[in-house]
């Protein structure tokens, strides 16, 4: 029974982490206005979805978007009984001058984990690759780590050349067991 549980948890983690690539494409039809934008929140529940299409549209200078997601070692059916380490990787062309910041919510506080900007290196596919530090989910507890990805389009980039740009944002989670 114990072995079954371990196998199930392993499969779940494989499903969740190894293949859990979610990407969001946002098509920003920026206008030259600087109207204050409302901040929308989206739940990115890695326990539920493998692929999520985020309904991003019309991100314009001065606007921000916020993406919420969780990293968890539990599912409704199975739980892990070993410690899990993971790392979040953000990939983007960064053709739109977006500020991309990743926060982790710990005890109600937002802790900045990563600012993804052009100081990071690009890979062979010309993608800008931003890696978070490694994090760990402890065994035996029903742990969930809450993250908040904030994407903002600074208002000063309101020139005609920034209208209609296309870009993407990709989140990848790498995980492995730790003894």
């Amino acid at each position: 029974m114990r072995k079954k549980i371990i196998i199930i948890l392993g499969i779940a983690l494989m499903i969740i982490f190894a293949t859990g690539i979610t990407y969001s494409i946002f098509n920003s039809n920026a206008s030259l206005t600087t109207t204050n934008q409302n901040i929308a929140k989206f739940i990115f529940d890695v326990e539920e979805e493998n692929n999520i299409n985020l309904p991003l549209q019309n991100l314009i200078p001065g606007e921000s978007e916020e993406y919420l997601f969780k990293v968890s070692s539990t599912s409704s059916d199975v739980s892990s009984d070993v410690n899990i380490s993971y790392q979040i990787i953000i990939k983007t062309y960064h053709f739109i001058p977006l500020d991309i910041k990743l926060y982790q919510e710990i005890d109600g506080d937002k802790v900045l984990v990563l600012t993804c900007d052009e100081t990071y290196s690009r890979n062979d596919g010309n993608e800008l690759v931003c890696n978070t530090p490694e994090n760990e989910l402890m065994y035996g507890e029903d742990y969930t780590h809450d993250y908040n990805l904030e994407v903002s389009f600074p208002a000063e980039y309101n020139d005609e050349s920034y209208i209609g740009l296309v870009d993407y944002l990709n989140l990848e989670i790498k995980s492995w067991q730790t003894l």
């Binding site: 062309y93 960064h94 053709f95 739109i96 596919g125 050349s161 740009l165 296309v166 993407y168």
Partner: protein, 1209 residues
């Protein structure tokens, strides 16, 4: 009384105080010593006339003073005291006793001369007498017969002297020593002491077998600074010594062939060089066949058994024997005897025999005559002898051997340093330094002979070392000496630097270093400073200038009055045979050789004068009693008695004579006056000038304060208005003065107050040269105000330096009378006397004159002509005119540079006032430049004129208009076109079709024109007018053309708004001015492009892994376009960054499967309009961002541009 008492008390106190009294005594002693002790500062007793009396032949009874100690030497000051010295030496040699000669001593007042042919001569007061040998009697004739004319003093001479005698640079004149009985004759018989600083002149020592000037024998003696001049001669017939003796020769065997044997007589070997006659005598016998035997002595055949043979060579006596007999034959000689007559005569200038003696600064000037060996300084040297800085200048004569310094030296050590001979050596055997050397050790350093004579004989036995010593004998160079030519050896630099003959500089330097004794004169060997001073017996006196030397570095001495010169004898008792003068006008000094060749010397007999102007060098030729010739000369004496030549000149006149009542010259311009002056003789000292309003006479100028005069540089400029005379003063270097004056310069006239282009003053042109176009206008105002006498019959003319072209309008505004006149040039004929205005004067500048009386008054119906006016009121003449020169009506013209127009005033055709030239502005008038007309051009610049305006749509077009005036330029100067003066720029807008037909404003009801935010409307002439700024300033206007949607009623097509700028005449264009125009295209269309076109794109991320990605597009709202068309272009992002949004165009066809219709430049026509798709080939695209640009056209009309982005990943 009280004062006397105080003084006595003071003296008593002083003497009671021992310290004070000792101090005073010491001070007194120092003062006394400083007065009494002679200094070297007066060692050169130059130009001191002898004050002592001639010795009367009486013996003094004591010395002048002294006790003979070092500190209190015996002083000898007269001939009598000198004779007393001689008398005392009969009984003592004065060993360690000190003597000084405190004055020049004259023993005889005439000059004694020895002539080998005529005997002793006595020259007294220019007369030559003849002295009987060995007596004091002199006669008128050489035969010395009859009664003697007079007697001279024979000095007895001195015995042995072992003391110290310091002559203190005094001279003993006329010493005459003679004795028929003595074998050794000299002034001193022997000296074993010291003699110094003693000079002898006019000395004669005659007699004896051996004669010497100063001393017969010197041993352990020191001589320093001795000069001996005169004659030293031994007896004319020397005493001969007979020497005879017997000698023996062994028998001689005679054989049957000739045998030669030498007869050796050892007893006569030492007489080989000084025998006069020699012979041998004896008997002989032939033992054997007498007839067959012969015997010869010195080739004289002996006969009769005895012989008497004269000998010429004591070293070579030959006896030859021969017999034809075969029998043994022998010759026996008996009674053999030699008999010799010897000449041991030795004559020396100063010392006969010198042994262990030191000589420094000894000079022989005496002429020496001897029969055997003659020399200048020393006859026979032995022991240690050192001679330094000594020389001979006398003539040394001998019948056998003569030498410049030393006659002979047998043994001992001789040191010669800085010694030389320049006296003439006349003898069968002549040597410059030493005549005869045996085995002595000789060291010669820095010495030379200057007479082309070998210095010493070649003697192998002697040890002779020669250092740095020179010979001038080029024919037979003694290799021990270095050859130099006489001129080379006379070179002072060489002698100073190479031979260490240190130049005398001054007394102070000489006191510090007594080797600085050598004096140099051009072309001569050096002499010591005492010798030089003693030899300068004549001084040429020119005024207060004295000359005693021959010198070539002459300077100019300028003399203003007659040159008076005289010859002064600086030393008495030096008989001068002849004094001659030669005047040369050459500026360079004649050489002595040239002077020698001059034949027309004039005997000087009295003070003379040169009264003729010129430059002179006075040469003096002096022949002394020894027939020695010397020269001296003056500086260049410039006698300048006349004043300098003086000329004043200017461009209008020249002045050469002083005018006490100068005339007047009118000036209308500044004037340069130049002073030219020259003085051929003394040259110009200085030039001054004075500009004065007052006239002066020459005598008044002489009295003027010197400070009023100005130093003249190169010109005088008359630049201030007024009436002046220029005075010039030239002073030559002799002080002669010349004055000169000009005429009065009357520098007055009209002054142009202002010149300007156009009709009004315009500050834009201030300070700039005036350049105008040939149809422009220029104006000037000028006036004149002067207190003067009333002038009648005056006329005025306008004057120009070129002929004003036809059509020129001249306006004359008389600002005094407030009247205006005009005159127009109506003919090109020379009615204004331009071409004939300068018929004769080549420097004259042509001018045309337009008399005022030609001018018509403006504003009067009958147009009266100008009436001449003298403008005189209350003692003042005042005129004020404004002149306008208007070329606007001139048709044919040319360019004029530096044109001048001004006013002149005449009094009965005589110019009395013109316009001051430096107030005139030169006008440059240009019609063409490089054959192109010179006109100002209006420029019109507008932006935003390329975009079409769609008339029936809603649109706003803003156009910025800028109009300005561009003058042409000559170099950097604008050529002003005064047509534009006082006028504004204007803009006009009109609407025309493509054929430039004017369209009525009715068709522009949907158009609004806003200029600088103010609505403007077209006038009835269908033009819209906008007013601008005054020229030449530029005008900027913002024109906003607003169109509104709606049908204007015009046919479709292309139209234009045309905007022009121009010189405005109110609402109208000045047709004479330049007009510039721009066009703005206007599109009239029935279509409504004023819609919002969008293009939907269904995919903006292309998956690079797919084979094909079809991207669909849909254009909205295109149904209303009659001829819709889409042109597509693909761009790829150039930089992988969000912060650089630049894209580069790529060829769309390379990335899609669609067959596209190319429009060139990577632009493609999309065939379908509403819905179309592009089939991308993903693997040809890069992982990058792309941009598609779609241009929407309606036919040729571009309606809109739509950009769509996508990425590839």
């Amino acid at each position: 009384m009280i004062i006397m008492k105080d003084l006595k008390d003071l003296i008593n106190k002083i003497f009671l105080n021992r310290k004070i009294s000792l101090g005073l005594i010491s001070l007194a002693l120092v003062l006394m010593l400083s007065i009494l002790i002679p200094t070297l500062a007066n060692f050169v007793k130059e130009d001191v006339y002898l004050e002592t009396e001639v010795w009367d032949g009486v013996l003094a009874t004591s010395y002048k003073s002294g006790s003979g100690t070092y500190d209190d030497p015996y002083l000898i000051s007269t001939g009598g005291e000198l004779a007393y010295f001689s008398y005392k030496l009969e009984e003592t040699d004065y060993q360690d006793t000190y003597f000084k000669i405190s004055n020049n001593i004259i023993l005889n007042n005439g000059s004694l001369r020895y002539n080998p042919d005529l005997g002793i001569e006595y020259i007294l007061d220019g007369q030559t007498y003849y002295v009987e040998y060995y007596t004091n009697k002199y006669y008128e004739t050489p035969e010395k017969t009859g009664t003697e004319v007079g007697t001279i003093n024979i000095f007895p001479g001195f015995k042995n002297f072992a003391g110290n005698l310091d002559g203190e640079t005094h001279t003993i004149y006329g010493l005459y020593i003679t004795d028929s009985t003595k074998t050794e004759l000299s002034t001193f018989e022997k000296i074993e002491g010291n003699i110094s600083n003693l000079f002898f002149k006019n000395t004669l020592v005659y007699g004896g077998n051996n004669a010497s000037g100063l001393v017969a024998a010197a041993e352990d003696a020191i001589f320093n600074n001795i000069i001996f001049d005169g004659y030293v001669a031994s007896k004319k017939e020397p005493n001969l010594e007979d020497v005879s003796g017997d000698f023996i020769i062994d028998n001689i065997n005679v054989v049957n062939y000739e045998v030669i044997n030498n007869i050796i007589i050892p007893e006569i070997a030492s007489y080989a060089e000084n025998f006069v006659t020699a012979k041998i005598t004896g008997d002989y016998e032939i033992i054997g066949d007498v007839d067959a035997t012969t015997i010869k002595i010195n080739d004289v055949l002996l006969t009769n058994n005895s012989f008497d043979i004269s000998l010429e060579d004591l070293d070579n006596i030959q006896i030859k024997t021969y017999t034809s007999s075969l029998e043994p034959t022998e010759i026996s000689l008996s009674n053999l005897r030699y008999e010799l007559t010897l000449n041991n005569s030795q004559v020396s200038g100063i010392i006969g025999n010198a042994k262990n003696t030191t000589i420094d600064n000894m000079v022989n000037l005496a002429n020496i005559y001897g029969s055997h060996i003659s020399s200048a300084l020393v006859g026979v040297a032995s022991g240690n002898l050192e001679i330094k800085r000594s020389y001979n200048r006398g003539n040394i004569n001998s019948e056998f051997l003569a030498s410049g310094l030393i006659g002979s030296i047998e043994t001992g050590e001789l040191t010669l340093e800085n010694v030389f001979n320049t006296g003439i050596i006349s003898s069968p055997n002549s040597f410059g330094l030493i005549g005869k050397v045996n085995t002595a050790a000789i060291n010669i350093t820095n010495s030379f002979d200057g007479t082309e004579t070998n210095l010493i004989p070649s003697v192998k036995a002697a040890n002779i070392i020669v250092n740095n010593s020179y010979t001038t004998n080029a024919e037979n160079i003694d290799e021990r000496f270095i050859y130099l030519s006489t001129p080379e050896l006379k070179d002072s630099e060489f002698l100073i630097n190479t031979l260490d003959f240190k130049k005398y500089l001054n007394e102070e330097e000489f006191i510090l270093d007594n080797s600085l004794i050598w004096s140099y004169e051009e072309e001569e060997f050096p002499v010591n400073i005492y010798d030089k001073i003693l030899s300068k017996i004549i001084r040429l006196q020119v005024g207060n200038l004295g000359f005693k030397d021959y010198f070539t570095s002459v300077s100019n001495k300028i003399i203003k009055s007659n040159i008076t010169y005289s010859l002064e004898e600086t030393k008495a008792f030096d008989s001068i045979i002849k004094k001659e003068i030669y005047l040369s006008s050459e500026s360079t000094v004649l050489t002595k050789e040239e002077l020698n060749n001059i034949e027309d010397w004039v005997v000087y007999d009295e003070i003379s004068q040169i009264a003729e102007e010129g430059q002179y060098i006075i040469y003096v030729k002096v022949t002394n009693y020894k027939n020695e010739i010397s020269y001296l000369n003056s500086d260049i004496l410039i006698l300048d008695l006349t004043s300098p030549l003086l000329t004043l000149s200017s461009s209008i006149s020249t002045w050469e004579t002083f005018n006490e009542e100068p005339g007047s010259i009118y000036l209308d311009d500044t004037l340069e006056v130049k002073i030219e002056t020259s003085d051929d003789l003394s040259g110009i000292g200085f030039i001054k000038y004075l500009i004065s309003t007052d006239p002066y006479s020459i005598s008044e100028l002489d009295l003027l304060n010197e400070e009023l005069w100005n130093d003249y540089q190169d010109k005088i400029i008359i630049s201030e208005l007024g009436k002046y005379i220029v005075y010039a003063k030239s002073v030559d270097n002799a002080g002669n003065i010349s004055y000169l004056n000009t005429s009065y310069f009357d520098y007055m006239g009209y002054q142009v107050e202002k010149t300007y282009v156009g009709l009004k003053e315009n500050s834009d042109y201030d300070g700039l040269p005036v350049y105008i176009t040939s149809d422009s206008i220029f104006t000037f105002r000028l006036g004149f105000e002067e207190e003067t006498e009333k002038q009648e019959n005056i006329t005025h003319s306008l004057v120009s330096n070129f002929l004003l072209p036809v059509g020129t309008e001249i306006k004359l505004l008389d600002n005094i009378t407030s009247k205006a006149y005009r005159y127009e040039i109506i003919t090109s004929d020379d009615d204004y006397n331009f071409n004939n205005s300068c018929e004769e004067d080549e420097t004259c500048k042509k001018k045309a004159a337009y008399p005022f009386i030609l001018f018509e008054e403006i504003g009067k119906h009958d147009r009266p002509l100008y009436v001449e006016d003298n403008y005189y009121s209350n003692g003042v003449q005042k005129e004020d005119f404004t002149v306008i020169i208007d070329f606007s009506k001139v048709v044919n013209t040319e360019n004029y540079s530096n044109a001048e127009v001004y006013i002149e005033m005449y009094e009965e055709d005589l110019l009395i006032r013109s316009t001051i030239k430096n107030t005139l502005t030169k006008i440059n008038i240009y019609h063409t430049l490089e054959q192109e007309p010179v006109k100002a051009k209006i420029s019109l610049i507008a932006d935003n004129t390329q975009n079409e305006i769609n008339l029936n749509t809603n649109s706003t077009t803003v156009i910025d208009l800028t109009s300005s005036l561009n003058y042409q330029r000559y170099n950097e100067f604008k050529i002003i076109d005064t047509k534009y003066e006082d006028s504004k720029v204007g803009f006009k807008l009109r609407f025309v079709d493509s054929d430039n037909n004017l369209i009525s404003k009715e068709y522009l009801k949907n158009v609004a024109f806003v200029v600088d935010d103010v609505n403007h409307f077209m006038a009835e002439d269908n033009h819209l007018t906008i007013s601008g700024n005054y020229f030449p300033g530029s005008t900027n206007k913002s024109l906003k053309i607003i169109t509104y949607e709606g049908d204007s009623g015009l046919a479709e097509g292309l139209y234009y708004f045309k905007i022009s700028s121009f010189k405005s005449l109110g609402r109208y264009i000045d047709n004479l001015s330049d007009v510039q125009e721009i066009s703005i295209p206007v599109r009239v269309s029935k279509a409504n492009y004023n819609k919002f076109y969008t293009l939907d794109m269904d995919l903006n991320v292309i998956n690079k892994n797919n084979q094909e990605e079809i991207v669909s597009f849909k254009l909205n709202e295109s149904e209303d376009l009659p001829l819709p068309q889409i042109r597509a272009e693909l761009y790829e992002k150039s930089v992988l960054s969000a912060y650089d949004q630049t894209y580069n165009i790529v060829d769309l066809q390379d990335y899609v499967n669609n067959e596209l219709s190319s429009l060139g430049n990577n632009s493609y026509l999309i065939s379908s309009i509403d819905d179309f798709a592009l089939n991308f080939i993903p693997n040809k695209l890069n992982n990058n961002g792309y941009q598609l640009i779609f241009h929407l056209y309606d036919g040729d009309i571009k309606i809109d541009t739509i950009k769509k982005h996508f990425i590839v990943r």
